[in-house]
Symmetry: none
Subunit: 239 residues, 2 copies
DNA sequence: GAGTGGTCTAGACCACGGT
DNA sequence: CCGTGGTCTAGACCACTCC
């Protein structure tokens, strides 16, 4: 199966909404869509549910499905395991440039975040993430050498970061802490991301720990404010 | 239909997981559950999808469905955002100005977020939060009149918002969605928060729903980028 | 009553993980 | 190979909204 039917429908509807529809405009009913795409109702509903969860449409029982007003052309950064996946979901062509990869003695703040002992080193991976050729997010990731000996650039070029950490080192993050801050881009940052100086951006500080409560990753990332939204869901547990 | 089948299955599975199962323990397969509950596979999958989205189980293609590690900590996961508490923790003197409080017919986007029917009204509470006398966060909160009849300004002056909603109306949020965005402040916003025009800020859109899956609160807030960090914690189960 | 989304059934085949 | 979750079909009835 190349790509599931419902995913193709998601992309198609999303494109049509973006290009040809207005907020609060009514989409065709599920039965109409079913005929248009020659699929079953279940498949249509899979697609609509995805669009609803991502805030692109809203559904009213007995009335119909409508284009959401809050729909911004922005990508969700929250709970992001994989930039690549998020981009594919949004129907865009993701690209990652691994710019530099070095073994360094980290600055103090990084050493603290990773709980490093005196003299311990980390790998530093600098990446630029693009979608459809447009730079969107700049990140610096620090990985303790102690946990990931002999990590190489070619490891990273052949798999996702978390794929490598799991497969080569059997390291999986159990908990992730993220701090999100609003900033204005300085000269260098704005140049890298291709926007004006002073443009708003999200700074994301991310710390991941593994099952042994050991810090395994620290990342600071800068994301274009006009292209990203950070979405979270929180549960207040029952009883 | 009293309560949908899949919802009853959700409750049942959730109870069993909580009382009798360990993290990473395997659940019965979808085909087994289908026989246990005498329902179709679609219905089982609706239930499992909900449990998965709420982080209670995780599913692995070709392997099965497993209990998440979330229930390891019986701690309350939600970072229910309490400005007052956060500030006290930070050693600052918190202050809340309740600026206006009215019963209004909300704009369309708000009505949509709260799932209001035609003609339903909401209370609108405008607040300014300060720390050590310095304004940090401006917020507009919308509360459906249907859920909170006879809510008054003096209720709010004598307790926290969530305290009132719980004590007077027995309404507690079970799930909270928040969207965070980086913006530049316009003239009015910058004046209210006492910073320059164009200064970076976090826009926070918050939607809370209660145990009956009814939207009980919608808030949009603007927080100074130089003074405010949004902190989250996430539990992972995926590879 | 007509049209909408919400729930549900009883099947089917595909893709993945392990034996 | 088998068992798993992932996708999909072609129907059905229910609950809601509006006329």
């Amino acid at each position: 199966m190349a790509e599931p039917l419902y995913r193709q429908i998601i992309w198609d509807l999303e494109t049509k909404i973006k290009n040809n529809m207005q907020p609060n405009e009514k989409l065709p009913s599920e039965r109409q869509l079913l005929e248009q795409y020659h699929v079953s109702r279940n498949t249509i509903r899979l697609a609509l549910r995805d669009l609803e969860e991502r805030g692109i449409v809203y559904r009213l029982h007995g009335k119909g499905t409508f284009v959401s007003t809050v729909y911004l052309d922005q990508i969700n950064l929250g709970n992001m395991y994989s930039f690549t996946n998020e981009m594919k979901l949004a129907g865009r062509k993701p690209q990652t440039q691994n710019r530099t990869f070095d073994l360094i003695s980290p600055e103090k703040s990084v050493a603290e975040q990773l709980g490093l002992k005196e003299g311990e080193k980390t790998y530093k991976l600098v990446r630029l993430r693009l979608a459809d050729g447009e730079p969107l997010l700049y990140s610096e990731t620090f990985l303790p050498e102690r946990l990931f000996p002999d990590l190489t650039m070619s490891d990273l070029n052949n798999d996702t970061l978390y794929g490598v950490l799991k497969k080569k080192y059997n390291e999986v993050s159990v908990m992730v802490f993220e701090d999100i801050q609003a900033v204005s881009l300085n000269k260098e940052e704005s140049k890298i991301l291709g926007v004006d100086i002073g443009a708003p951006a999200l700074m994301i500080y991310r710390r991941a720990i593994d099952e042994n409560n050991v810090a395994m990753e620290f990342t600071r990332a800068t994301a274009r404010g006009d292209k990203f939204i950070y979405r979270t869901r929180q549960y207040n547990n029952l009883s």
